[in-house]
Amino acid sequence: MIVTVTLNPAVDKVYWVDSLKICQITQEEFLTRASRSSTSAGGKGVNVSRFLSAFGLDNVAMGFVGGNTGHVVVRYLQNKGVTTNFTWIHDETRINVTVIESGRDLNPNLINERGPQITQPELDRFMRRYRRMVKRASWVVLAGSLPLGIDPGIYAELTTIARDSGAKVAISAGGEALSRALVACPTIVKPDTREHILFKGKELTSIEAIVEAGKSVVTCGVELVVVSHHVTGDIAITEDAVWEIKTDVETALFKNIVGADDAFLGGILYKLAAGAAMEEALRFGLASGIASAESEKKICESHEIVESEMEKVVVSRL
């Protein structure tokens, strides 16, 4: 069983509009009408859970939820077949808004709320549940930003607890939370490069920089580092190999890239949990991400579509 932890989940609201009008002068007022919209549960770990459930893999989503938006997250996941085990808090779960303008699908406008304030008793309640759940887990996924009140060392602590219980750990995060977690030796590291372009003190702008930073992490005991290099390609670094995973799919086909990164990680875990070799897991991962980007839904739930995308993915050793 796989446990995913999303400490700062969200209600993801996506609006598709012809163009987003922005007020430029005082007393100006614009109404932007959405041609369509969607509401779903979001957050990086939550997205991984959605992917795993769609592909029939037993998983439990954990984290903090509160208020009406918290109920939206829990109910949405349960309807998608995800087992939920969230800790209820006094504050309210955040809402993240994505506005996709016609013809600009690759450059959506995002407004992400910071998230709720977590109190010490709430964190204690979560930790107790977490210790209970990891005893049943083969993999633990720690993903996404941290809500207010949570120390950046939390992922390091959660990694240590999971590893002591015999579970493997995948982390998809950025900044201090990720860098401090590396000390606890997670199994897979996927740096979130949306806001945190620095990883191990390096700007991840070139393949050379990605490989150098990844190698320094792998030598510390991490088994796999995966870094998004560009929209349709990633670099994977293991102890004995560096892989480039890419596809020649037209980015013009992309409809919603939010969550594609998480489908990528979900795809890798799905295959590794089934005992597949690394190369196949990476290929399936990128195919899952691409299939999700091509879908208006955040996560592609069709095994057939992912399989067909796999044919276009090329994995090569650098």
């Binding site: 509160g66 349960q78 087992t83 939920t84 969230f86 209820w88 808090i89 107790r128 210790r131 759940m133």
Partner: protein, 144 residues
């Protein structure tokens, strides 16, 4: 149909040493009328409901009364509740718990819910660990 196909996949549960105040917060926010009690391994060891707490806060002779209007005032209830709010829920939980497994039939779950007069049943795995619950509404939705 099997319970696994109709159950609500939620593991919200509490430990027996949490205080009554915390339990009320969880019941209120999770919008659950009752909640399973589990040990550190996630094994089901009890069950506690709003009803158990109300019963604990009411005078001992309440069940002999025909109507709540015989209680002098609600301050008595509020005072007792405040008194027990820091006590562990273990004192008030029920340990005689009926549960089903994921492989049980929907009919067995429906029969137990009706016979026991409960709003939901915990679902456990072969090791007795909580894996979800079957609610009355799950059955109604399923049978419609």
């Amino acid at each position: 149909m099997k319970v696994r196909e109709i159950m609500t996949r939620d593991l919200t549960a509490v430990e027996k040493d949490i205080p009554v105040r915390e339990l009320i917060f969880i019941l209120d926010n999770a919008e659950m009328p009752n909640v399973p009690v589990v040990n550190e391994e996630g094994v089901l060891i009890g069950f506690i409901s709003e009803k158990d707490l109300i019963r604990a806060a009411l005078p001992g002779y309440f069940e002999m009364l025909h109507s709540a209007s015989f209680i002098p005032d609600m301050n008595q209830l509020a005072g007792k509740l405040a008194q027990i709010s820091e006590e562990p829920i273990e004192k008030y939980m029920s340990t005689d718990v009926v549960s089903v497994t994921m492989e049980d039939d929907d009919l067995r779950a429906a029969d137990l819910i009706i016979r026991k007069g409960v709003k939901n049943l915990p679902v456990v795995d072969e090791e007795g660990r909580l894996v979800g619950r079957v609610r009355r509404i799950d059955l109604l939705r399923h049978f419609l």
